[in-house]
Symmetry: C2
Subunit: 446 residues, 2 copies
Amino acid sequence: MFYALMARNAQPHVVIAGAGFGGLAAARALAKAPVRITLVDRTNHHLFQPLLYQVAMAGLSPADIAAPIRAILRRQKNLTVLLSEATGIDLTRRTVLLSEGSILYDYLVLATGGRTSYFGHDAWEKYAPGLKDLDDAVEIRRRVLLAFEAAEKESEPERRRQLLTFVVVGGGPTGVELAGAIAELARYVLASDFRHIDPRQTRIILVEAGPRILPMFPEDLAAKAVRQLERLGVSVRTRAKVTAIDESGLHLAPERIAARTVLWAAGVQPTGLTRRLGAPLDPAGRVIIEPDLTLPGHPEAYAIGDMAVFLHQGGKPLPGVAPVAIQMGSHAARNIFRTLDGAPRVPFRYVDRGSMATIGRSAAIAQIGRLRLDGFVAWLAWLVVHLFSLIGFRNRVAVLLNWAWSYATYQRGARLITGRRLSLVPHRPVPPEEEAGAPRGEFLVR
Amino acid sequence: MFYALMARNAQPHVVIAGAGFGGLAAARALAKAPVRITLVDRTNHHLFQPLLYQVAMAGLSPADIAAPIRAILRRQKNLTVLLSEATGIDLTRRTVLLSEGSILYDYLVLATGGRTSYFGHDAWEKYAPGLKDLDDAVEIRRRVLLAFEAAEKESEPERRRQLLTFVVVGGGPTGVELAGAIAELARYVLASDFRHIDPRQTRIILVEAGPRILPMFPEDLAAKAVRQLERLGVSVRTRAKVTAIDESGLHLAPERIAARTVLWAAGVQPTGLTRRLGAPLDPAGRVIIEPDLTLPGHPEAYAIGDMAVFLHQGGKPLPGVAPVAIQMGSHAARNIFRTLDGAPRVPFRYVDRGSMATIGRSAAIAQIGRLRLDGFVAWLAWLVVHLFSLIGFRNRVAVLLNWAWSYATYQRGARLITGRRLSLVPHRPVPPEEEAGAPRGEFLVR
């Protein structure tokens, strides 16, 4: 018996599902715990999601904001990384079902995060991609850059206008950042690169169903964000509900906007795992957790981050941002530590250090405690915070250099159209007879 | 008549198909010519192919070795960039057929390069991808990294061995570079990142059908390359002809090698355009060009680079390398200049400045004139030459920093598994009953 307790395999087994901000924080906080940890993720990298929009807008490369999970945790000897997807949890048998095999646990930390939600309109995904992982970002980059290329070849004014119209749905931080970044791309980066179109004529529309954008910010700061967006050429439409999206544009009842490129930043829902848990869910599908972050009736199983909803601190759900997930991850680890020591679990308290959103070059808003910043100062604060939050020295240097270079040259370092997916921008073939007629774009006539 | 000659559209129209080394050199050399230029490419970027294998091996990001064609040529006002694919040429009507529409020319420079050749075995492509563009590189990176991940999860020794066996077919510079880079990845980068496998046990086999690798180099230098490869753990098999490739390995008559990952670096063939030209081709399908680089009977149409074969200087075909394409591009531009001035076209002469191949960290071979280098000095020469040949200040800085970081830390900056293509590494599901039995890899038992 003594021998069995001392054997390595007798150490309690902690399984962490998901290596996002929450899962990684939990794993690191358990580095010195007398446990074996298995960290399961379906990708091989931890992703710094707050900068994902910059990959979508060709400013950064995927590798600048992602780091291999194995490399991050190489020296943590009590931890095994497993590239696999958690497809279900058997809470009574304490088993995680994986895409291959299954795995038993003593303690479980669920941190599988969220995915794009179309509020029941899954058919819209094809026309309005969301932004949750690197593949999404590269696909959005491809679509945005291809739209300018197609416009350059299009001589019919209506079609050209449609190709140069970009709609971003959702007025949260991601939507604001995407809209601002498209505006910068069109106004500065691409401005002198085309011969038949003027990218500065690009129309960018930010659509929000609610009464105002950035509802998590004070009203005066959000109003400043609107002004900064409008200065960049983004038109902001609030109280505008999308009723249909197809390949040629979208319906904002009663209006129709002809746009070839629609991006979706309107909603996040938990990964499908939550619905198979048998635990109580809120209407958005998130797991309702106890004050100590465990699942009701399962003190050995924790759920954190975007897949969970924490309703105890003041009753308002915590926002789906990185600091919440990180603090929850550390707290779950702390409660596991306490349980191993025979101490009771303690309730979680979120320490809000503020929030920020960037709009574009020298434009941002920030709320840090009672301090409210906007414009250049807020933008600088945003840069510093994000640079220091990045994981890995290499990534920090790479991002800093890319930003400095972009700022100085008005260029973007990753303006690549890659990926062999079928183009969503069909080109009208020009019959040879037409060539002899009126000039249809200079390149088609001698 | 005078007016027509002075009008902008009356300037001769030069169409360049392909923005690789040859096409870009031709475009730049015509910057001050009294012509209008249309540069057609099916991608939006110029690719620095000599470093493509480093993207495939997770050392560099796609954006480090590619630059947007529009950005490179932004200031060249006599030039229009067109994102399109040249699907055919009507030499008598002086028309380039594009994937959309067509385009008339006065002078034509064909520089569409090459693609991977499987010598009639196109079915092998699925199992043994080639390396010609960024999508290829990202796909190879995905497969190589996934093979290690799958091996970590595999407890059956034979399957694990198969997953950790990598075969590179083709002993030219690309094959040597790929084999050396896989060896480095396994020996240094991944060495301490796994818990169930030791990546240093990886088998890497370089297969060459001819009597020796690197036939374009002197025999003693090639022999040194073999020794450097073997020191890294690559086994080199010459006179080994591949007779079959499938998902589980390849046949090297009479032997069979069980390998999950096979990479193809054995051959290049011109793009399909050449076969639709109606011009004389060599057995490899390349256009046989005149001493002045024009197509026989078409003094206004040039073919350069990998799609053409130049047999006049000593009778031996020129190698398919960047310096040949660049010199040909400048020469075609020079002959167009001369024709506009009423001067006769002059024959092309290739100035050979040497060749280099890199094997790995501090290991390379180089021949520069009569100078023969190997080991660290050759490797340093290789670094300097490639760094300075890169287009764009940003790319040079990015690559230099990535190299310095990799050299110092033995890490790779772009170790990402991305892309949603179907995995070629199927996993055997483990039935729950098996779990209770003998340990099948620690993570499957508590």
